[in-house]
């Protein structure tokens, strides 16, 4: 009897938590279809805010900036992170504590401190040399910095999971270093490379604080655009952009669910 009450209580908490987690997102989606300019009263269904959205050049630009930033920073981070991940594996018998501390630094640093120190540094360097003008370039640098550790750790753990004799075999068959990289390394760690790229991409798309402080006046990303729209005064247009972003996440979630299922078969 007592057991059943406990089970019911647990299920109640579970459903309550799900409601809590999804209600703010639901409200955004609902009010993006509101015909009135209100976020409190739903008048009638309309697509007006979406039409406004696609006419707004700033939003299109911000979306383009987000994509360029995410793709280019992920590619750079993938190359650098891969090298460091492999180096950490190959030379793991050496004392590389300093390297590991360095790698963990971007992860443990509070993002506000991260963003502000980059911004202050870039402004100072720009003042002295004229280089590193705040804009897409500085944002890419900052994003690569926080993506490198994740790539390195993913690649490292993939190498650790491999059979060490594989490396010996490739060497024994007189493969040149280049051939070993192209025909052995890249194919064997391909899953790690793919997941590292997608993780970097997601981290970049999702980031607000670090982008906000390293952005220039013309390099606003979508989250930065939304932020300034909120600050200037709330309009349901934000609901419409946010709904599109939530849909993207929902699609990604469905894909990962299917992927999960397949993986366990």
């Amino acid at each position: 009897m007592r057991k059943r009450t406990l089970a019911r209580g647990l299920a109640g908490i579970w459903w309550g938590t799900l409601f809590f987690l999804y209600i703010p997102l639901f409200v955004i989606v609902l009010f993006s279809f509101n015909s009135a300019n209100s976020t409190a009263i739903f008048e009638s269904f309309s697509l007006a805010w979406y039409r406004r959205l696609f006419d707004n050049e700033q939003i299109i630009d911000a979306f383009g900036n987000s994509l360029v930033l995410a793709v280019s920073s992920s590619i750079i981070a993938l190359v650098i992170g891969c090298l460091i991940g492999y180096g950490m594996y190959r030379h793991r018998h050496r004392k590389l504590g300093w390297l590991i501390a360095l790698i963990y630094l971007p992860i443990v640093l509070p993002d506000i401190v991260f963003g502000i120190s980059e911004m202050a540094f870039f402004v100072q360097i720009h003042d002295w040399t004229g280089l590193l003008k705040p804009g897409l370039g500085t944002m890419i640098i900052a994003h690569v910095t926080f993506q490198i550790p994740f790539v390195a750790l993913i690649v490292y753990s993939r190498f650790v999971g491999l059979d060490p004799t594989l490396f010996e075999a490739a060497k024994d068959l007189y493969a040149s270093p280049l051939k070993r990289v192209v025909h052995f390394m890249v194919p064997t760690i391909k899953p790690a490379l793919i997941s590292a790229f997608f993780l970097s991409f997601t981290l970049s798309i999702d980031d607000f604080v670090i982008s906000f402080f390293t952005a220039g006046p013309e390099s606003a990303t979508l989250p930065i655009y939304i932020w300034s729209a909120i600050k200037k005064g709330v309009t349901p247009e934000i609901n419409a952009i946010a709904t599109l972003m939530i849909s993207a996440v929902a699609i990604a979630a469905i894909f990962s669910m299917l992927f999960n299922r397949q993986g366990r078969r």
Partner: protein, 307 residues
């Protein structure tokens, strides 16, 4: 075996090659993080010890002005504004972490009681909302808590808020936003701990006629403690330095340390003061990390608490 004065052997040449290999693979990444993170952080630390110049930019001579300002000493004598901000940050971190634990504990346990094939999907359902941008999620709560919404009207009719004020901006809204934001970070490590739970211990406790509370306290709780600690690190440290949620949901009165720091760098404020705040934040972060590691090691579950 090596002999003194030996000619360069194949072995020593191989060592040189190995070192070159290490440098080739590790240097680009180490250089990048050093140039674009260690140097900027060091620069920020330096700024904290400079004087506030025109337009808020740092200038010589070196001084401890910004630390005095941070402690509240200004032209008009001592004012507790910054101290309140610090205390509010600590309080919000504590309250939201405790609330997150209270919610996450039963949720993580509930997932382990479900059928195995459902568990990954249930976990995914908890995590998915956190994939949307945090600005959007905070905006969702702004929509829900603004004056005139059902929730605000309910709170008004219960006499919890003044008429036409709404539930946001307020400290309550910040707490809610923090709990909302960090809940998944607690559920995941707790779930991992629950999944590995040794049920034989619970059985033994029940066989020895332990009350459910005692069985939980002595057989279940210690086993989930490493997960709880890992979750606390993932929740409390970022919550303490949070910027977006207090800025959007707290208004001027709900400011936390992150906002105090950030505000000194926007417009023509005071870089040295902001940098001093950043140092304070870093000290708190490293004390938190260190304490958790110590506790984790003492419990023997050391590896799991390492981030």
């Amino acid at each position: 075996m090596s002999f003194p004065g030996a000619v360069p052997t194949a072995r020593s040449r191989a060592m040189v090659r190995e070192t070159r290999h290490l440098l080739f693979t590790v240097t680009p990444g180490a250089f990048w993080i050093f140039t674009f993170l260690v140097l900027p952080s060091a620069y920020l630390m330096g700024v904290a010890f400079m004087t506030n110049g025109p337009y808020g930019l740092p200038q010589m001579p070196l001084s401890l002005d910004s630390f005095e300002r941070l402690a509240g000493v200004g032209f008009l004598g001592w004012s507790p504004g910054n101290l309140y901000t610090l205390l509010r940050s600590l309080w919000q971190t504590l309250v939201s972490t405790v609330l997150v634990v209270i919610i996450a504990y039963p949720v993580a346990y509930y997932i382990t009681t479900c059928r195995e094939k459902w568990r990954p999907i249930l976990l995914l359902l908890v995590v998915v909302p956190s994939w949307t941008n945090q600005v959007i999620r905070a905006f969702g709560w702004m929509n829900l808590l603004a004056p005139g919404t059902p929730l605000s009207n309910l709170a008004e009719s219960l006499g919890l808020v003044a008429p036409n004020m709404g539930l946001y901006p307020s400290n309550f809204a910040v707490t809610l936003g923090l709990v909302y934001n960090f809940l998944p970070f607690m559920v995941l490590p707790l779930y991992a701990a629950f999944e590995k739970l040794d049920t034989a211990q619970v059985q033994a406790a029940q066989d020895l006629y332990a009350s459910p509370v005692r069985a939980f306290w002595h057989a279940v709780f210690p086993q989930t403690l490493p997960g709880l600690l890992a979750g606390t690190v993932l929740v409390a440290i970022p919550a303490f330095g949070m910027y977006v949620i207090p800025e959007l949901l707290g208004g001027g009165k709900g400011m936390m340390l992150g906002n105090l720091v950030a505000n000194q760098f926007s417009g023509s404020s005071n870089w040295p003061l902001g940098a001093a705040g950043a140092i304070l934040m870093l000290i708190a972060t490293f004390i938190g990390l260190f304490a958790m590691r110590r506790i984790g090691k003492r419990l023997g579950g050391g590896e799991e608490v390492v981030i």
